[in-house]
């Protein structure tokens, strides 16, 4: 087990390095520090001195990969790539362009993100799997056919519609909740309900159909016939055998995303004015603050790799045949 974890962590290093190279290539080679300075200082009437000053101030005044002016090892290490990447590996995200500490922002903003993403995820999983079990139980009936058609219709509706429609109905028409905003502390629940409900509804079609297909595939297998032949009731087969055996494919899709819940949802958060990491990222994208975007990309990759490891561990919990060697 420990062996396995160490190996996975070592394998994570080249991936994170690759992620860094990719974002670095995007942000620093295609879009050179000079371009960045120009974006921030305004395109017109920029003196070369002003650009140099901006670059020096934000630490972009070094060569990209190879420093010809340095000697020895410094030729490779005293460069922008090493400087910017090493910081990320130590989770030192540096300063955003507006001078704030990115790590601190992340620490304060991840709680609102989590407060929305976690309930959406948990309640969602419960609902979708239950709906799928219901449809599977009544497979072939009018309920099943109607449910599938409803799912296809629901998944054909743009996610933006659920957001805008939800805000209009629950916020403006019925006055149940404030349309958007945030309040720290326990009062936050008022602002939480609507994004969570909208997030839930938006995922129903896709997920229910996915889980139904999963269960139906299990239903066709031999062990189900054996269980039925033993005289077990349909309900018992469904919950004990099919659900249990479908656990592996379910976990494959589900566990990976758990760590990423910290990052929140870009769309939901910016629509509902939640000061979480999702809206932080969107604001950074719109303000072209590459330091923040790079940090979030890196964080997202780290969390994804953590998710992969967790997935493997979760397999051992539901299936005793799986061992991590």
């Amino acid at each position: 087990m420990l062996d396995y974890l160490v190996r996975r962590l070592l394998y994570a290093l080249p991936i994170l390095l690759g992620v860094n190279l990719l974002t670095f290539a995007l942000f620093f080679m295609v879009n050179t520090p000079d371009d960045m300075a120009r974006i921030h200082l305004g395109v017109k009437r920029v003196t070369p001195q002003a650009i140099e000053a901006w670059k020096a101030e934000h630490g972009y005044d070094r060569p990209l990969f190879i420093n010809t002016q340095a000697t020895g090892v410094d030729q490779v290490t005293d460069t922008l790539f090493v400087d910017k990447s090493l910081g990320l590996f130590a989770f030192d995200f540096g300063m955003a362009d507006d001078g704030r500490d990115i790590a601190r922002e992340i620490k304060t903003r991840m709680w609102p993100s989590l407060a929305i993403a976690l309930p959406t995820f948990l309640v969602g999983l419960l609902c979708y799997v239950s709906f799928a079990l219901l449809l599977t139980f009544f497979r072939g009936s009018a309920l099943d056919r109607g449910g599938v058609i409803l799912c296809v219709a629901l998944m054909s509706i743009s996610g933006l519609f659920y957001v805008i429609g939800g805000q209009y109905l629950m916020g403006k028409l019925w006055h149940w909740f404030p349309i958007s905003g945030w309040q720290p502390g326990l009062d936050a629940w008022k602002f939480l309900v609507m994004p969570v409900v909208v997030g839930l509804v938006a995922g129903i079609g896709d997920s229910t159909r996915f889980y139904r297909a999963l269960f139906l595939e299990e239903m066709g297998k031999d062990y189900v016939r054996t269980a039925r032949a033993k005289g077990l009731s349909d309900l018992r087969v469904l919950f004990r055998h099919v659900l249990g055996n479908a656990m592996i494919p379910i976990l494959t899709g589900v566990v990976v995303v758990i760590p990423r819940l910290f990052l929140g949802s870009l769309i939901i958060e910016s629509f509902f004015g939640i000061p979480g990491l999702g809206s932080y990222t969107i604001d950074a994208i719109q303000a072209q603050d590459f330091a923040i975007v790079r940090s979030m990309v890196f964080l997202g990759s780290v969390l994804y790799i953590v998710g992969l490891v967790l997935t493997d561990i979760s397999y051992t919990l539901v299936d005793p045949r799986v061992r991590l060697e």
Binding site: S156, I285, S301, Y304
Partner: protein, 384 residues
Amino acid sequence: MKPVLLWSDALLFLLMAGVLVLVWSMRHEDWLRDPWRHVMRSRIGAGSALLLVVFLAVGLLDSLHYRERLPREAGPPGATAQHSGEVLSALDWLLTDLRTRTEKTYSAPLATHLYVKESMKGPDGREVRDYPPLQYPRGHLLGTDKVGQDVLYLSLKSIRTGLLIGSLTTLVMLPFAITLGMAAGYFGGRVDDLIQYVYTTINSIPGVLLIAAAVLVVQAQIEAHPELFDTAAARADVRLLALCAILGITGWTGLARLLRGEVLKLREMEFVQAARAFGVGRLAILSRHLLPNVMHLVLITVVIDFSGLVLAEAVLSYVGVGVDPAMNSFGNMINGARLELAREPVVWWQLAAAFVFMFVLVLAANLFADQVRDALDPRMERKS
């Protein structure tokens, strides 16, 4: 009139020609034709296919671009004709009435009067505040937007963008997915390790972030070189293509993983072993023996991805990393109209039009995709 061929037009027509050639070449192959016949025989399959063809026709008409010649006012005869900077399409020409009949601002569907009150001269010469009559009463089936443009026209124009995003992206994605996925499965070993590394790396980056980052970079580059584009349409077009390329480059991993798994299985099958024993080269085995056997997976993925991409465009445009803000698209329509529900009375028609058009397109694509999957997936038992 001077015809204009935008890059996306060229690619779209090329794609259509490719599909037609493919269909033509397989018209005598019963085993290839049968699944499609099965799709078309079902009511849902035929209906959704018909809807998609209608959308496609609108999109294709909207891809025949031209620039109108400006009326020559001064200058010596024989001087080179001046052309308008505005790029129009055959669809614009067909819908000239809708396009040019603009109002001052919002008006409800089939309304006779404007949405906002204005000061006017009453019949007795006094100033009164009332809703002024429209220039074209009952002329706007779906109403008009903030600047008075017909919403039906805007919706029809948005179809092309959705179709392009859905189809050109797959065009970018397929070469990556097919070559890398099959190579990983067939060659194994180092090649497999490397390809798996590449797609794990791409997968590990949150999708929207990678797309946003890439679009930002492209946008900055386009803004830095305004001299490369002679019209606004050409600039928007390049940005659209860049978006397709980015979506394609970030989106090939799913299909590649699927193909890798399938080829891994097929590689050990007897027909491949036999081919190998006969000394057939690796490339020939891959292209002649393995590719046809995974083609159904490719086709299914292509049709399923299409609807997802149409929906993604709206979200990306809302975030500000989608198509050019000046381009007609469902995302831009929604983005521009999202504050309208806060008005009193509610301006609902623009949002409704965008959502309904998108819903019909995506629903048709989803239903069609379901039928295609049922027909092509060998695991599905077909009732004939």
